[in-house]
Amino acid sequence: MKSLVTIHEGRAANWALRLVAGAAVIGVMLWVPTHGSNPLIDQFTNAFVLMAAAMSLNLLLGYTGQISLGHNAFFGIGAYATGIIVSRWGWSPLVTFPIAFIVAFVIGVLVSLPALRIKGIYLALVTLALGLVFPQFIKWRKLTWLTGGPRGLDNAGFNFSKKRRTYEIFGWNPFGDMRGQGAKPFYFWIAAGVVVITYLVCRGVVKSRSGRSLIAIRDNETAAAVMGVNLAGTKAMAFGISAGLCALPGCVSTILTNNVVPDSTFLSIAGSITFLIVMVIGGAGSLWGPIIGSGLYVFITQKTGDWSDEKNIPAIIRPFFSWAKTSPGTGIFAVTLIALMFVAPRGIVGVWHQHSPRLMRIVPRRAGTGTGTGTLVDTPVDDTVAGEL
């Protein structure tokens, strides 16, 4: 296949491309919290929460092939870790992140123990049970002293004073006005930080021997074991890390709303389904898939959010939705999902990988030392896959 541009990995053009892409991402990340409107900042922050959760699920389902419909529980463990520690003990919300990670990691590993023996639909059912039980467990009367029961916990986020307070760095004010609930840019940075950490953890795992063993398990368990992959141990670690990572956006969600209740969307089974959907839309088993999927999801729900009033629906598509009494947002998303699954079964990233070689191809660095056999250097590469940035 001919492509317009051919870039060799590791050469100057490749680095330039990475630099441009990186600069674009950083540019947006700096512009939004400092110059964006409050709703826009909110939108990004919400997308970040979803992103981190979807990325954590991606590590388990997308890469290791182990389905979990119980990730809302791990998200909830994070949300309640922050809630309990901040609201009951008065610690800083920031120290709750590592604690939440560890708690969720341990519970994730414990949950994985029965999961090591079961597969597919049975694993889906076991994890579904976890997801369904979690909100009920939180509401259990005997735990009210800890979880606050159905009413949840208040004052679970940052407690800024009423006074106007800003932190300037050379005249630049990245955190905005931190008083009361008005610290939107600050929350943006926390959520962004969680996404960056989650991304780095996932990337580090995926591009290593351990990550290759995850994909090997997904592709062929027997062969993976014959290659020396400890199936039980590796799956348990995948469960643990995935659960631990999923707790982090849970912490963020509590910080954002300053409270935590057992019936909020992402803590119920709907959370798991949402994580699953955005991961699949973006592209399971790719690093950028969940990021793109979450962005799209939040964008669509935001756009269609006020469509319950017919006047707000764009004129072109209004006739299609005149029957709807409530906002057709969910319906639109469902239709988009079905359509996408037909044209792009491997998600948006899958479409990119399928079509991008016509536009741009990144030729991977040749592997091999070239010693012994003289054929290495001049063998033409038959075909290549475009690498992820």
Partner: protein, 273 residues
């Protein structure tokens, strides 16, 4: 001492007796051919050594250690701990660490990975980077580079260099059979089991494969157990041949002896040897 000694192995699947008291042994450095009609139990034998099937009885001694019998339970870091009971045999994932690698008759590759990544997974038992180091990136770059170059060299040697970045899915059967060999070699084994490596190859390629097997045996100082139906190849490169039928050994010896054995001729009658 023989490298592998199979003693009285019996494997049953429901009513079927796939291996029926099979015994044979292989000396270090040999290429040992394992022949027999379809259903004789050759692949089952491989799966017993790989610890995929647990035999009903018998022993598989590798360098004198039994792979399949009960042994004291071992814990990570602590090793053998008393009062923990017994575990049955060596776990499947530790077989690669012992230096035993194999290929699969019906391919067991990782279809979504490139050929290069497939071979890199083959080197799993050679690596050290676990999840902790992967997350903190301590030593990952170096290990990736070393593994990648090693895998690339193996692919080039097996004539798959130009295809190394292609996903394994969708390539011809014969190509993938060679990929299986490259992946098995990536574990730096001392004992290689090959299950019908020549299936799907043309006649010319079969001869070439025979040469390849001898070459890699010498280069990597391997002991090879070779299951193959191409008799001319098996007979020309094997130091010894074991013939099976219905899960039992029917003949054993030099290629010449086995070829002229009446029971072997009977077993193959009609299959055109």
């Amino acid at each position: 001492m023989s490298l592998l000694e199979v003693r009285d192995i019996t494997v049953r699947f429901g009513g079927i007796v796939a291996l029926d008291g099979l015994s044979f042994s292989i000396d270090e450095g040999q290429i040992c051919g394992l022949i027999g009609p379809n259903g004789a139990g050759k692949t089952t034998m491989f799966n017993v050594v790989s610890r995929i099937y647990q035999p009903a009885s018998g022993q598989v001694l590798y360098r004198g250690n039994d792979l399949v019998g009960a042994r004291p339970r071992r814990l990570p870091l602590l090793g053998e701990v008393p009062f923990l009971g017994h575990q049955v045999g060596v776990p499947a994932h530790e077989i690669a660490n012992l230096g035993i690698a194999r290929t699969f008759q019906n391919l067991a590759l990782f279809p979504s990975m490139s050929l290069l990544e497939n071979v890199m997974v083959g080197a799993h038992s050679q690596g050290h980077v676990g999840f902790g180091r992967a997350i903190t990136r301590i030593g990952t770059a170096k290990e990736n580079r070393v593994t990648r170059d090693f895998a690339g060299d193996l692919l080039v040697q097996l004539g798959l260099g130009p295809l190394m970045f292609r996903p394994a899915a969708g390539l011809p059967f014969g190509t993938l059979k060679r990929l299986e060999i490259a992946r098995a070699l990536a574990a730096r084994p001392s004992f290689l089991l090959m299950d019908e490596p020549a299936s799907g190859l043309t006649h010319g390629e079969v001869d070439e494969l025979g040469d390849t097997i001898v070459t890699i045996r010498d280069q990597f100082s391997l002991t090879v157990l070779l299951v193959e139906h191409h008799m001319s190849m098996v007979m020309s490169i094997s130091d010894r041949v074991v013939a099976m039928e219905f899960g039992r050994k029917i003949a054993e010896g030099t290629p010449f002896e086995v070829q002229s054995d009446q029971r072997v001729i009977d077993a193959y009658l009609g299959t055109g040897v």
